[in-house]
């Protein structure tokens, strides 16, 4: 009975597993295959970092925060520009000391932003239709995108974490030329893991975290036992702002801080669709599946498709992520780890 119920999920899993193994069967070198796989996993970690912000806010308030990508850009811009300006302003040494202080200040700015959003945008919309809240976050997105560039600038800014950009090769004795691993990506993965552990501890072990979980489970019940909803919302938006800052720092160090970060951050949408809107592990696993899926598709699926049907060509990784998310949506609407929605009749 259970197998029959889970049939579509199992079938989809089988198709994806077959797709994952197909390049090896069709003769792609194992070393290259592993490189693409690792590259996909590392990209997935970065998507997960942003997806975490989406999940946090959705869990605690039921709001789908479309502005999470814009928050990543805003936080990264604040960090990069403050690290650049602080040495001239207060005479602090450039480099790590300035970056550390800039991080603290940027975190403060994100907390302030959370408070302003709660006061001006969310509070007047309490008990409104979820679509109204979604539209409000869309408005916040455009505001932050534009306002961020107005005050911080629209050039490409650097965040220097002091990580070597040179490639690192592993398993050189097994594969010709070795397998490429990026130190930046590895450190990003470690930071993401650290952040997840930190969030888990915060949710499980602190009174505020437990209050957040209570609000997530049932707003009205939480309010009835004296948990202040507004304060909780400020906290959760502040935590999401902090997550955005960490994501912005890692991405900014890798790609440079520029407007495109906000667009890239929207890659977290298929991640949360796939992983489930309410699940932190879902954000992580979803990110990894999307990261691997899109890189594999771009490298191994796109070129043969173009050749076979004489297509015009073009990058496929951008839309392939959404195809994957759609497939999951069809067989498991609540996502891999999302809570199943049951209505009592």
């Amino acid at each position: 009975m259970a197998a029959k119920k889970n049939g579509p999920v199992i079938a989809l899993g089988a198709v994806l597993a077959a797709g994952l193994a197909a390049p090896l069967v069709t003769g792609s070198p194992l070393g290259f295959y592993l490189e693409v796989l690792i590259g996909g996993l590392m990209a997935g970690v970065l998507y997960s970092l942003v997806a975490l912000g989406f999940v946090l806010i959705f869990k605690a308030s039921g709001v789908f925060n479309f502005a999470q990508g814009a928050m990543v850009l805003f936080a990264a811009l604040a960090l990069a520009r403050l690290a650049e300006w602080l040495p001239a302003w207060i005479g602090i040494p450039a480099g790590f000391p300035a970056l550390t202080l800039a991080f603290v200040l940027a975190a403060g700015i994100m907390v302030g932003l959370a408070w302003v959003i709660e006061r001006i945008v969310l509070r007047p919309l309490v008990a409104q239709d979820p679509v109204a809240l979604l539209m409000a976050t869309l408005g916040v997105t455009f505001f932050l995108d534009g306002f961020g560039q107005t005050i911080w600038g629209s050039d490409i800014y650097k965040i220097d974490l002091g990580i070597s950009k040179d490639p690192t090769m592993i398993l050189e004795s097994m594969f010709q030329g070795g397998i490429l691993v990026s130190k930046e990506d590895l450190i990003a993965a470690v930071i993401a893991a650290g952040l997840v552990i930190l969030l888990a501890l915060f949710f499980q072990k602190t009174a505020t975290g437990r209050a957040l979980r209570a609000v997530a489970d049932d707003h009205q019940a939480a309010q009835s036992i004296g948990i202040p909803l507004n304060r909780i919302w400020v906290i959760v938006w502040a935590v999401a702002g902090f997550v955005a800052l960490v994501a912005g720092m890692v991405w900014g160090a890798k790609l440079g801080v520029q407007f495109s970060l906000a667009q890239l951050a929207l890659k977290a949408l298929p991640v949360v669709i796939l992983g489930g809107f309410t699940s932190i592990p879902g954000a992580i696993i979803g990110g990894l599946i999307i990261g691997v899926g899109e890189k594999m598709a771009e490298v191994f699926l796109g070129p043969p498709l173009v050749k076979m049907w004489d297509l015009a060509g073009g990058g496929i990784e951008n839309w392939f992520a959404y195809v994957l998310a759609l497939l999951f949506l069809m067989v498991r609407p609540e996502g891999l780890f999302g809570e199943k929605h049951i209505d009592r009749v």
């Binding site: 629209s154 490409i156 650097k158 950009k165 490639p167 990026s182 790609l255 440079g256 407007f259 771009e298």
Partner: protein, 447 residues
């Protein structure tokens, strides 16, 4: 009676008031209006801002130093396109009717917007200058009356890059069996050079692989893993904005040598290399028209514009690659007007009249030196048949702090390009049902 007088007085006052601005407009009518389609925000802002600053600074210089274009004051209005075709068309529609004679000439600053506006140009009769970009087939003035890809097209750029690496290898015949990868922006801009590179591949026997990068170009891991796997002998980079610096960073990440990378002239400015830090050392790109540096025109811009507190952007960007290209683009607009004034008089001109000026440009070294562009622009000589007016470029290399211009100058091989232009333009004319101009007849009738 008193009431009637009051009403009459009020009516007179109202009419006088209403007419006053019109009178002022007539008084100010000796103006030439330039729409400025720019992008100062968004993914391509790092490249769009210095170009726009250079363009506007030159118009300011013309007014401040020369008192306008032969006494006709240059006016302009910027509109933010965000490098998006729909917003570009919207900006064009908003600005095309402004000024006493409407828009003089439009620089689309985007191949996508160029494609969209080309169709409109036949009815709007406003020239489109696409210096170093746009559609390559618009060189053919017999079909594309209103388009002016002055100084170069992407087919020319791709041709010159192949010539350069052919020279490096010891001859074009040595390219046989070599592997060239084109990493391109997945847009009309990025796709433009493909036809020429494929044509050259047939001729010289090199293996061309096409690696598209989707907008805005910050995700290139898969692309560069393929490059690491295939180890092409050369990578041609056809990017714009943040895509360029990301490509260089990814090249560092996979250990692909930067000295084997060659960017088009829109992938060879300071915002493309600085974010990559030391990793960009050795990276090459074509330089079109204006390399980085300070010449007479820059000194004038500093003296008449920046030192008067009128500079559009920061003073230290004067002389950078994209700023210079903005200056050159504005110079082309102004010289087109000046040339048209020789036929139509020193007054505000319509787009249709400026089209004649642009089609009869004769800017040789001497003329360029006279306007302060010696060493910062190449001669342009256009005609009814040829709307490009010459195409040459050099290679410059980033040494970690500045661009170093190489000694060789390349000229696009017209024997290869012309038949391609003819075929593509003829196809366009047929599709759009455009009457092809008879340039010989037009020339004879104008004499």
């Amino acid at each position: 009676m008193k009431l009637r007088i009051s009403i009459a007085a009020a009516a007179v006052a109202a009419v006088t008031g209403a007419l006053a601005p019109a009178g002022a407009a007539f008084a100010q009518a000796k103006e030439q209006f330039f729409p400025v389609l720019s992008y100062r925000t968004g993914a391509y802002a790092p490249n769009g801002v210095p170009f726009a600053n250079g363009y506007v600074d030159y118009l300011k210089l013309i007014n401040a130093r020369d008192g306008g274009i032969n006494g006709v004051k240059a006016t302009w209005e910027e509109c933010e396109t965000g490098y998006a075709t729909d917003r570009g068309v919207e900006c064009y529609e908003r600005l095309k009717g402004k000024g006493p004679t409407g828009a003089t000439v439009v620089h689309t600053l985007s191949t996508g917007i160029t494609f969209a506006l080309t169709d409109k140009s036949f009815t709007d009769k406003i020239p489109i200058i696409t210096a170093g970009y746009g559609r390559a087939d618009s060189v053919d003035g017999q079909v594309f009356k209103w388009n002016f890809p002055l100084g170069g097209t992407y087919w020319g750029a791709a041709d010159m890059l192949v010539q350069h690496i052919g020279k490096k290898e010891g001859g074009l015949d040595k390219l046989k069996g070599k592997k060239i990868a084109l990493v391109y922006h997945d847009s009309p801009y990025g796709k433009e050079p493909i036809a020429l590179l494929q044509e050259r591949a047939k001729m010289h026997g090199y293996d061309l692989s096409l690696l598209p990068v989707t907008h805005p170009g910050v995700e290139q891991k898969a692309t560069w893993l393929q490059i690491r796997q295939n180890r092409p002998d050369y990578v041609f980079l056809w990017g714009w904005g943040v895509m360029n610096s990301t490509a260089i960073k990814e090249a560092v990440a996979v250990g692909y040598p930067r000295d084997k990378m060659y960017g088009v002239w829109w992938a060879g400015a300071e915002p493309d290399v600085r974010p990559a830090g030391d990793g960009a050392k050795g990276y090459n790109a074509l330089t079109f028209m204006a390399p980085a540096g300070i010449g007479k025109v820059h000194q004038d811009v500093i003296k008449f514009v920046h030192d008067k507190g009128q500079g559009t952007g920061p003073k230290n960007e004067v002389g950078e690659v994209l700023y210079n290209r903005g200056l050159v683009a504005a110079m082309m607009s102004v010289e087109g007007v000046k040339r048209a004034q020789t036929k139509y008089g020193k007054k505000p001109l319509k787009g249709e009249e400026v089209q004649w000026g642009l089609e009869n440009l004769a800017l040789d070294q001497k003329a360029l030196a006279a306007i302060g562009f010696a060493g910062f622009a190449d001669p342009i000589s256009t005609s009814c048949v040829d709307h490009e007016g010459g195409s040459s470029a050099r290679i410059h290399t980033w040494d970690g702090s500045k661009w170093v211009v190489g000694p060789d100058r390349y000229t696009a091989d017209q024997q290869i390009i012309k038949p391609m232009i003819k075929a593509s333009a003829a196809k366009y004319a047929q599709e759009k049902k455009i009457a092809v101009r008879d340039c010989a007849k037009e020339l004879a009738s104008s004499k």
